[in-house]
Symmetry: D3
Subunit: 336 residues, 6 copies
């Protein structure tokens, strides 16, 4: 299955050794983004992947493309337009100190200013079996919104699978209210086959009511299945974080039209607090593309999410062998 | 309230990535010191701060001043005398391996050789509402001792608030015995309004007896209030470290003439084992300068101390927003 | 003389050791800009300096302010507006390979979106004797253009000295033609006392004709004096670069209303190819503020420009002692 | 007691800050190996140590020798032959992500191609009281196997103490089966006085049966004493790792011909997952060389192993003072 | 034109900042090799390129592949065999101090142990128009020699262009004498269309006599044309280095069957002394593939070689724009 | 010949990449000193060397000793006393910008406070054939002066060779005048066999008159031979620096009782401006210890001095092979 993604390439600038911005003049530069993260991980799992996006025609654009290739992603659908790359600075947290992200220039980025006319969707879709569309494109700009809708519709019409994640960021939606975003989500969901999200996305963004006569877990199951039926979604998946005393756990869930599976919770050990969601999504897409059982898929995807937290940066670089290792030999902490 | 401090600027040289000195040729250079730490933190809280000290008239002196300015502290009262900056090498500990500090040349530093004649205390005090005097000045040299006494007396006479910390370091007091130090403390305390210390400072350095008829906690309360009354101290504050199984907790306490509050213990996660005491002091001084309640003050100051342990170096760079965040949303470990 | 500047603080991101962007993940972060550069240098010469600009209210804005303070510049007139800092990536050249600069997001920066209403010019000018206005503000956005005009006019009216540099960048003026820029320059020049520029600025931007009956050097002198008379300019200064075989030389020139001096050319040895112009300007402003003779001023300013090329980054950190050293003892290459 | 070792010097190349190989172009270079590790630690304990090995006659060989000297080991018995140094890349694990070691070129290394004729065993043994022979020499090549046998025999004949560790690595023994290795072990053991190993080495490699009528702990004691009697071994020692919930503990054991002691388990905090076994061995050899009691020896050696996990790299650099500190003042985590 | 290469991927390990191996524990890791260098440069010129080689099936092999992709080279013909990657340590020279290269393990590398049976030449050649075969494959091992011959023959038979460079390294040919190497060269040359070499390769390796009745330059021309005719070579190219006082110049030459052009010598400024030959070859191949005139080609290729010396590492990353820049605007040393 | 030295081990702290102290928080730590430099170089030439000095009994002292061993110098005569190591910060110059050295704490160093009673000169001299005494010991403190005199006298009495260098530093002699230093030099010279110095040392420090009837070069020859005769010096050597346009040359000279040789001047290319004098001295001592001719010795020593300028840090790490290479194949700038 040829898997592609439509989304932004961003620069991530990170001070070394948990330093804060005021403490250092050194930064580590990585290229990242939801699409980059998911595809890179799938490429490390052995899949053929391709990213559809635009970059500026300058030295930064070239460096970004080189980095994407290094991650194993094909760069042939990366075009040129605009003049900027969005960036974010990540001051890495430690213990009780949170990781602090500061964004720069997302809306004016090459991706942000590219509308549908900047891409050749037809040619792109010819080479694609499944396309992931990052929900941030619905929040970013009018251009990215329009491009996302047209791409989703075209893909759906051609019988390609469409994967979508809500990825709602309050900081990107201060101008438009929730009701504006609800409209956007409602517009794209009918084209989608796989959706990543949470119960809150359904209740707060789509304003779907919970059936409060049921117990908590059943409420969740019921609302998800109601949502999936309404939009004809084949797979709905996401992660849940739990805090128990001073420990922190990750669990993944996955619904198909009939069933619902949850992984055993795994304790989170954080080297980097960003990127586990994309790793989880990559795991689910791998299971989907190879028709694994739901339970096999959630267990693998959750273990993959856990591993992503032990890797610096948002880009998960795990291989199948590494994920299997922590599932099968969790106490072997040295391989030689 | 314009807050100032009198104390030494030191160089801290730290190997990267928890390496020991033999393992690396790379060191990180920071400028630090009790005064620097407390004022920098207060500046990050929005206070106007100024440091009174001396540095050599050379490239290191200039670099030290630049660093102090960067931290938000005014450098106009930093004078020139002597030829050296005291330094220390910090081999950062990890797990059971302790952080190992090696000092170089403290007594011969520009600060160490500067007596009262090297400073213009009157002009300095005109611009100051509260001055922090680091207890190390009583241990360091005859010159610093004399300067500290004269400054404390002048400040007190002018109605400025004087803040003092015991900061007793056995390694700096091998020549003089305890009784010598007791005399020095007794000489400065009558000028002081706020004091940072511990029960041990009162019993072992001032040789005050405990009232053993009381239970442990009451003993503490009674001796502190007796001490405060004797020297007319308005605020007495400090921190207590507790070990419980393999965990490590920090609690702050704060007395005014009538009451006594203790913060809820917070677990310590160490990126750097040096500097929490100064962060706690900065928190207390902030609460004092803004007339917060005792309990508000200890809770904030303790959270600030905890954050300081998650920041590399001794200089706490926390803002009010960051401290409030871990008090109010302790499980939100990623802000974007 | 209290010297201030109005201009942008930018982030400069530089790969280490002459690497190109594709070759590294490490970048060095500096905060820079014409105003920052000139004021930092003047502060290192012992002047009191202050920067008028705006930064975003986030972690990057705070880090930028801390950096500006470290350089010796007062930060009290640095306000908050907008959400971004403009940045540029500098791939350092080596030998025949040129230094390559790639800009990101200049027009959307906090400075770029701040118009006159975002500043308190009156209060600022009360504390200022001379204000430097960077010519880039005339190219950047409508908001910066307007702010520059109002500031220049107010300063002039209050009898403050106004210093202006042409600093024309073709890449920032692709939309507007030369004739648009000519109008802008003509609008600001009547308020100016000191101007930095070149013969080409006069002929190509202001479209002033050369008197071709004179020999080359006289042509230059005549056009400059004509320009100075027209706009009542007290000082006109700039630098000339010469290539002779494989060597590269810098000469500074300086006009007052009557005379004209040129420095002896000095060979350029480049550690960093950016920032010599600002160092030259700082040297001229120092001479001006201390009423040095023209020839003393150009010689000092040119030596300072040469030194700036031996310092990494655009910010010249030279002291008077360092400039005097290379003027007086050029063969002493080790000081101990 | 002059302690020497016969074994390989390897290069260890480690990405910084827990990065994986794909994520960085920077590597840290260390020289390591079982002999290097044990001798370096003994040198830090104050013993006189010397390494017998061969290196290539090139820049890498010289750098390796310099590094070994820096660690406190005499380099006079390091000869020259062959053309390569074996190396390994260590991608440091974090939390559930295991440390991943990738070897390069062990069998073709200078050590790997050196047989007995490349060394002057007689002269070497004259200056040696105890020689440690790393079990890897029995797995590596025909040349190292032969050299190890001849050295062990000569040492034994001369009345020198011989110390041996099993150090069985499946990845080095894929060609030869277990029965081949059993023969090798049986050939060297009669010359040995101290042996480092585990119960599994006795049951799986030497194929000795357990006496299953005994309870587990007694089984272990019985098989070890049977083994020691058979080969006339004076000391048998090793470590055991235990997992309890999410914690990880280290215990050392030590047998002489009559008794058997086990240290209290200590929790492992890992900065580096490689090298604790060699640190444990160094602790046992120190106790042996100074005739400490068994229990003193195991407690010290286990604490030393724990410390080794908090030091980057495989080479334990602990001093007696550091080991005593964590045994006596485990909660003092800052020494100044 | 689809250009491919057959050759080794090596690790290059370089100490930073001109340090020697004894002076540092930090190394920079790059993946390099004649094929990698030429193809990467052609990819940066916009060509489609692919590398045929083998790597070990481990973490280093994966990292090497990722790096090759980052450089713009397709990795689909990179197979898996053997267990090692050859490496070299480059201690960078400065001024009179030469760059010192130390090799490790070339002959045992995955490439060194792979014979023709390890590759699918037919499928590879189907996608290739021109294949570059590095002459080092004739020196390395019996396996690489055989593979090179079979590949050259197959390519020639299929009408593909074959490019070959002599690349004779005395250190790799100590075992075999010159006459052995002469045979190998004579065996491959009949299949070749483009050859990179020097006059010395023809006289010393092929033992062709010079016609000493001609003047020096004519001798060169005559022997090259005689060589080209004998083996039916279409293009012969190479570089000449000249020393004039303390300067160092590079000139390229290029022959087709009729003409001969030499570039104007360009002064060398060295950031890195390795890799200019491969950059020159890439320039020639670009001109060849786009049918430029000889003189256009040598001028471009020589300028490219000069630029390669200003880039760290052996891999030339120059774009057409950069090469044109130094040809057309050599004094513009700052682009913004 | 066993060569030893008596002198200080200092810490050198150097910012990377030619940065100035204000520009960075990273420093490189090296251990250096005249004795360290000369002995390290002789050890790299294959000599057996040993350093006599004292260090503090702390982590820095241990790290210094480890570094000295790494350089190839025996550490058995390095004792323990005092509490500090002298240090200096070297801001590396570039082009016209000079290298700027800032000292810290030389006189209070462990070496500075150690008098003759802190060393066992007799045992040390038993193992020594030639001892180098750094002239700085005569300037540093009363303790080092006394120790130097006693050591020189004892060595001379025992028939050991004594080597001395003037090494006059005005900054260390501000308190004492020239006449004081003259006395010290006159006191030690009668014990010396080899002396390193310059004509200025003889005229300005020893106040010997020039014979102005001779021409310049003869004046030099005459005064040196007069000096050598007076104090019975066997060898007098030193270096001369010449500036010619923008180039910089080094020449070495060497006198025995009869002859006088000067090396051909060599152009200096500076990576580091410190340490060439010590490299020159090491070259002369090598020639002396192996009885080379004067001209062989000066040529080698001068080439060695030139190489030292291409190596970062003051410690020359050159081997005989490297020195011979630049003497014999100066245009071969890449060895592989």
């Amino acid at each position: 299955m040829k898997i592609a993604a439509f989304g932004e390439i961003m620069m991530r600038l990170t001070p070394p050794e948990y330093l804060m911005l005021e403490q250092t003049k050194e930064l580590r530069l990585d290229f990242t983004g939801t699409g980059v993260n998911i595809l890179s991980n799938l490429a490390h799992f052995g899949c053929q992947t391709s990213l559809l996006t635009n970059l500026p025609d300058n030295r930064l654009g070239e460096a970004a493309k080189a980095s994407v290739r290094q991650l194993g992603i094909q760069d042939r659908w990366i075009g040129v337009s605009g003049a900027h790359i969005g960036s974010y600075f990540a001051e890495m947290g430690f213990g009780p100190r949170p990781t602090q992200v500061t964004y720069q220039n997302r809306r004016n980025s090459s991706f942000g200013v590219s509308d549908a006319s900047c891409y050749d969707f037809d040619a792109f879709l010819e080479e694609t079996d499944l396309v992931h569309i990052c929900g941030i494109s619905l929040s970013l700009t009018e251009a990215t919104r329009e491009a996302a809708f047209i791409l989703a519709e075209k893909a759906h019409t051609l019988g390609k699978k469409v994967c979508f994640d809500f990825n709602f960021r309050p900081s990107l939606n201060e101008a438009h209210g929730i009701s504006f975003m609800k409209e956007q989500y409602q517009k794209i969901l009918p084209y989608c086959d796989l959706v990543f999200g949470s119960q809150r996305d359904l209740t707060d963004l789509l304003e779907m009511p919970l059936n409060e006569t049921l117990d908590t877990d059943k409420q969740f199951e019921e609302i998800v299945h109601r949502f999936m039926q309404k939009y004809q979604i084949a797979y709905f998946a996401g992660t849940i974080r739990q805090y128990e005393r001073d420990k922190h756990y990750l669990t993944g869930f996955l619904f198909d039209s009939e069933k619902y599976e949850k992984a055993a919770p795994r304790e989170i050990t954080n080297l980097d607090r960003i990127g586990a969601g994309d790793a989880y999504a990559a795991g689910v897409l791998l299971g989907y593309s190879e028709s694994w059982s739901l339970i096999e898929t959630v267990e693998f995807a959750t273990a993959n999410g856990i591993l992503a937290h032990t890797i610096q940066g948002d880009v998960p670089l795990t291989t199948r062998k590494q994920v299997r290792h922590i599932m099968e030999q969790p106490t072997v902490d040295l391989i030689r």
